[in-house]
Amino acid sequence: MLMQDVGTFHPQIAGSSVSTAAHLLGLIPAVPMVAAGVIALLKQPRRKPAAALAIGSLGFSLLIALYAFAHVVADWASGIATREVVNFTWIQTGASSVDLGWVLDPLSAVMMVMVCFVGLLIFIYSVGYMEHDENFTRFFCFLALFAGAMLGVVIANSLLLLFMCWELVGLTSYLLIGFWYHKPSAAAAAKKAFLTTRVGDIFFFLGIVWLFNATGTLLFYNHGSGSMEGLALANLLTQHAGLGLTAAAAIALLIFAGAVGKSGQLPLHVWLPDAMEGPTPVSALIHAATMVAAGVYLVARVYPLMSAGALLGSGGEIAGTTTPLIVVTWIGSATAVFAALIAIAQNDIKRILAYSTVSQLGYMMAGLGLGGVAVGMFHLITHAFFKALLFMGSGSVIHGCHEEQDVRRMGGLKSAMPVTFLTYAAGMLALAGLIPFAGFWSKDGILEAAHSSGFIKGPYYLLVFGALLTAFYMMRQVSYVFFGKWRGHGHPHESPKVMTVPLLILAFFAVTLGFLGTPAWPWFRGFLEGRAVRFDLAGFSEPGLGMLMLGSTAVVLLGLGIGWALYGNKSPQPEEPDALERAVPWAWAALRDRLYVDEFYGVTFIAFYGWWARVADWLDRRVWGGIVALVTRLFGLWAQLNRWLDNEWINGGFDKACEELSSGGGLLARAQNGRVQIYLRVLAAAVIALAIILIWSSRA
């Protein structure tokens, strides 16, 4: 991590207005990374120090993050939109340089507090969850490394630094999905996740290169000369990239491809459900709350580029005119519905949540595309809390049901695991978007943005349908898990305190966090967009808003109702076909098999690669191998010629010369007979001769 080495670089701090908080920011990713390094050196049985180091380092980061957040809030309260950057040169090549740096603005401040806080809770939860795992220290090493990398993504002020941390995050994701590498499914899932995200990352990298080529800098903000600032954007808008796109749009789409890969959007969503093979805290932290949100965060971060050239509405709202934003919106809403559909027909508790995550990420993308940074990010933050809560709750359920993950083999847990049930229910209602839970306010923001968008109506209907589906499949899951009769084996039990306390804390936020972004008091939006807000019930009286809220509540209640009607208290046996399956078996089969996307990839891309690999293999063996063999043979012949020359001519001559030398040496060797006294005698005789010569010559 380069930011640790800031002392060896010379930070280019233009202007003296960079606060201590911004300077300290570099420590936030650095400390967990150092902790990861230290944990890596610990011995396997040293569990306590490993956990303490990881939790302590992240706690330290949280303190700094809170300090920076408080600083930003204080600035905002006094009417300043904070944007403090600390940049330094990493590589200097001639006139151009590659700069890295970090930025403190409301976006990064909110995000890093969320990552640190949720991460810390999940770390603590992991102490309980991984208690019996023999690779406890390795797990915490990876977790700390992940936290550091993720925080690096969050604070990065350079697309390159962001990309480095992005890849590090991908690496830790790979390592953690495959944490139980002895399970073939886990190893395969890890590979799948790594390769699938790599597809997006290649486009992302192309975008980075293009951006660097076009603007000469990868810094986002650099006092007017960054790539996300007016000058560079205007420059990009004037360049044309073909297909009717400007360079700005093309680069934005490429970068969005990276976000698609990381955030599991269509068509690269296939890795995320499989990633549930990893330990549940990993699912909660990486594949629900933070890493998958990194794609959304990336889009938010490069939002100036995405929206470059867009017309601004009267209220500063984006009118959604640029190609990238349209693409983002459509992909987001399509993903939201697509994943929600699949989630209906899944039976694995974590898989349902995984598809729900994909779906919600689609919401965030749509929110970004339609309503701007604040709308998408608000849903990201609330989602992070309640989805982490749901995953940890599911982990608690799995833990309590002796590693059982099939919802059909659970049931009636509400009495066996009351704390888990209550918190899970809070998370489920938040996810479903029931008033007044957090999810309601953030999802409502997205729906409102979609509804008021004057350009594209399709996404609105898709998103409403998605909301219905969401409420339905969550109700289905909760009914299966917590209601009815116990259908598993053994006796379920409540999880230990170290697991339930984080659940309670998260549940609290899942309920209350939404009040930061109600129409009456849009604090979050004001904070992100740098506008003053005040409490005003008149916010509800915007035209159409009341209807919208009522409508969405109705949709949610409808979804919940259908779910309860179909599954509530039924406690169907695992072997029985599902209630929906009986109704529409063909649709059910398609949904259960994830709409055949994996199979489609299997017969197209993967088959193509297989064929191509066989061709390469044939080339290797026959063509290149044949050439190599020919060259080998030629060299062999040449070597034989050389050997003959060597033996007959060179060695022969040498032998003759050596014989002469050794016979000559034999004569001299007689003088060296090992008799020290003879040597001494010669020495003394020589002294006599020397002395005589000396005296003689001095006489003369």
């Binding site: 007979n673 090992g674 008799r675 020290v676 006294q677 001494l680 005698r681 003394a684």
Partner: protein
């Protein structure tokens, strides 16, 4: 060594004689230890020369000859220790201290 001769010359002659005796010992004795003794005698003869020249030389206050002798004594001690150590090592190996038999480099 007549009465009129310089005392320095007398000391130098004694030193020369001692040197020659030491050399004769080193050249004629078969025992390695006695050869070492002869060499020590030669060294001591040189020391006597140093001291004598210091005593009768032009600048005795510079202590040069004296210092030379003192250092020479110290070095001779080191030489004796190492030399005798070598003789003992060779004796352990070859079971002899006879120099006439000690003419092989290979053990």
């Amino acid at each position: 060594m007549t009465g009129s001769a310089s005392p320095l010359a007398a000391y130098l002659l004694v030193a020369a004689l001692l040197f020659a005796i030491g050399l004769a010992g080193a050249l004629t004795r078969r025992n390695a230890i006695l050869v070492l003794i002869g060499i020590e005698l030669m060294l001591n003869a040189a020391n006597l020369n140093f001291i004598a020249f210091w005593r009768y030389g032009p600048h005795p206050e510079a202590l040069t000859g004296m210092m030379f002798a003192i250092f020479s004594i110290a070095v001779a001690a080191a030489e004796a220790a190492v030399g005798l150590g070598l003789v003992i090592a060779i004796y352990r190996h070859a079971r002899t201290t006879d120099l006439d038999q000690m003419n092989r480099m290979k053990g």
